[in-house]
Symmetry: C2
Subunit: 322 residues, 2 copies
Amino acid sequence: MTSSVQVLGISNAIVDVLSHVDEAFLARLDAEKGSMVLIDQARAKQIYSMIGPATEMSGGSVANSIANVANLGGRTAYIGTVADDQLGGIFVHDMKSLGVDIRVPPAARSAPTACCYILITPDGERTMQTYLGACTELGPADVTERTVGSPKVVLLEGYVWDIPRGPAALERAMHLAERSGAVVAMSLSDAECVSRHHAEFLHALERHAGMVFANEREIMRLLGVDSFDEAVTATARYNAIFVLTRSEKGSVIVSREEKIVLPARRIDKLVDATGAGDAYTAGFLHAWTSGRSLRESAELGTSCAASVIQQVGARLEKDFRP
Amino acid sequence: MTSSVQVLGISNAIVDVLSHVDEAFLARLDAEKGSMVLIDQARAKQIYSMIGPATEMSGGSVANSIANVANLGGRTAYIGTVADDQLGGIFVHDMKSLGVDIRVPPAARSAPTACCYILITPDGERTMQTYLGACTELGPADVTERTVGSPKVVLLEGYVWDIPRGPAALERAMHLAERSGAVVAMSLSDAECVSRHHAEFLHALERHAGMVFANEREIMRLLGVDSFDEAVTATARYNAIFVLTRSEKGSVIVSREEKIVLPARRIDKLVDATGAGDAYTAGFLHAWTSGRSLRESAELGTSCAASVIQQVGARLEKDFRP
C-alpha cells in the first residue's frame, strides 16, 4: 500500500514575530493597517528596534496550510528555504514535529531565515511587514523530480512570485506536477500580490492551475471585476475549481459541474482572525485529497477556519480534530 | 537629578519554548509534573525532537521580574549571559524594548543561548526542562563596579547558584551591593533549588540579604520547618524583610517591625498561573524602591500577580498599568 503525499506546499518559509503596538506606531511606520508589505534587512532591524517584547512562532501562509493538513492527519511535504540558523531550526522543527516531510533542508544562505513582524493593534487587526531573507534564495534548483515527488496536489503560494527566481521555480513545479499527474493549486496570498503579478497569475491559471484558493478581494482583482457575483460568473472562463472564502459570509466553491454555497460556522468568540483562509485551505485539501466531495471538503474547510479564529495563532492547535 | 536604577537583576537569561503535551509525554520523559530540572544539550535536542510545534518567548524567573518592573515604569538593569545568536538577540531585544539596561552584551560563547522547554499539560500545569547553555558562562568577571553600579536593590536568582561560577559571581555581587548601599534581595527560585544549595542560601541570608522572596514550599525548605506558620516564626532569626507568597491564600510580609497579611486579588478567570511569583516580586520591588510602604508594595505585588495569571505568558503585557 502506497502512502503518497496528499499535499506538497511551495512557499516562503517564515517565522512570525508578534508584537502589540498602538495606532500611532503604524502611523510612524507609515504602514496601512491590515496590509502586508515587503521590507529589507535594514528596515527589519529598524522595526525590531522599535517594537516591544515579542513572541516568535512559525508562520507563512501556505506553510500554515501544510502544517494544518499534517495536524489533521494528512500526508504532506514542503519546499521552502531557510538558513541554518536558530529561526530556521524553529521553522523546520515545527513542521517536522507535525510529520511534514521537509524537502529542502536548512542550509548556509546569504541572508538569515525570513521573519514577518506582525503588529497587532488594540482592535485585534494585524499589519504585517515581511523581511524575506533566506526565502529569496528559493529557485528552480530546489524544485526537482526528487523534491516534488508525486503528491496529489501541489499548493503554490502567490507570494513566491515576489522573489527573484520564484516564478522560474514555480513554472518548474507546475510542469513537474503535470508530468506526475498532480493537481496544481494556487493560493493567491493577497490582493496586492495579485496586482503585482497579474499577468503571471492569469497565465498560471489558464495553463496549469486545477484549483484556486482566494478571498473576495483576491478573486475580484484576479478576474478584473468589481463584485463577487461577477467574479463567480467569470470563473466559467477557466477549467479549474475555485474555492472562494468570504469571512463571515461563508464560502463558495465553483467547478465546471457544480456551485456550492456554504455559510460560515457560528462561533462563540472571535479571538484572532489570522489564518482563517489558510486553515480553510488545509481542511478543504485534506478532505479533497482523501476522496471527499467538494461539499464535504468545503465543510471541513469551514470547520477548520471556525476553529482557528477561536484561538491565538494562525495554525490549528496540535491534535486538532474537527 | 539622578535617575539611579531601582532594581538590578542577576539571573539565568533564558528563552522559553512553550509546547502542549499530554500526560503520557511526561511519563516518557520521566518528568515530574510541575517540576523544573536541568538538562544537557543532548537531552535538550532529544526533547525538542519529541515535542510538537512550539512558541518562543523570553523567560527566566528574575528576568521576568526585571522586565515587569521596567514595564511598570521602573528603572532597571540586568546581568545575565546570552550567546550572540538569534535567541540571544530575542532575549536582549525583549528586555531593551522595555527600557532595561543590559549590562552584559551578547557575546561569542561556548554554548548557545539557554532555553527552557515548558511542557503544558491539558490541566494547564507546566513542567520545565532547562538547558542552561550560555548561562553557565556567567562568572565574577561579569559582575563589576561598572556592571553593578549603584542600584537600590540587587535581585539575585537562586538558580544562579546552580552554575559553575554562579556562587562566586553572586558573592561578588553581594559585596559590591553592600559597598554601594544597595539592598540584596534573594529570589529562592524553587524548593528543589533551595535543597541543592541550602548552606549557601542560609549563608547569604545571614550575611547579606535584606530581602527574601519565596513561596510557602521554598521558605519552609530554607528554614527547615514543616508548616508555613513555623516558617513565619523562624524568620525572626534573620534581619531581613520576608516577602512570602501563598498563591490563592495571598501573601505575608514579615519584617522586624511589622507583619502584613494580604489576601489574593479575586480574579475572573485563571488563564495561566506561570509567572505569578515573578510578577508579585516586580510589583513589590517597583513600589518599595519608589518609597512606598511595605503594605503598598505588597498591594502592587498582589495586583501584578493577579494580572499576569489572567493572561498567557509570564511577563505582564506591554504598558501594563495596575
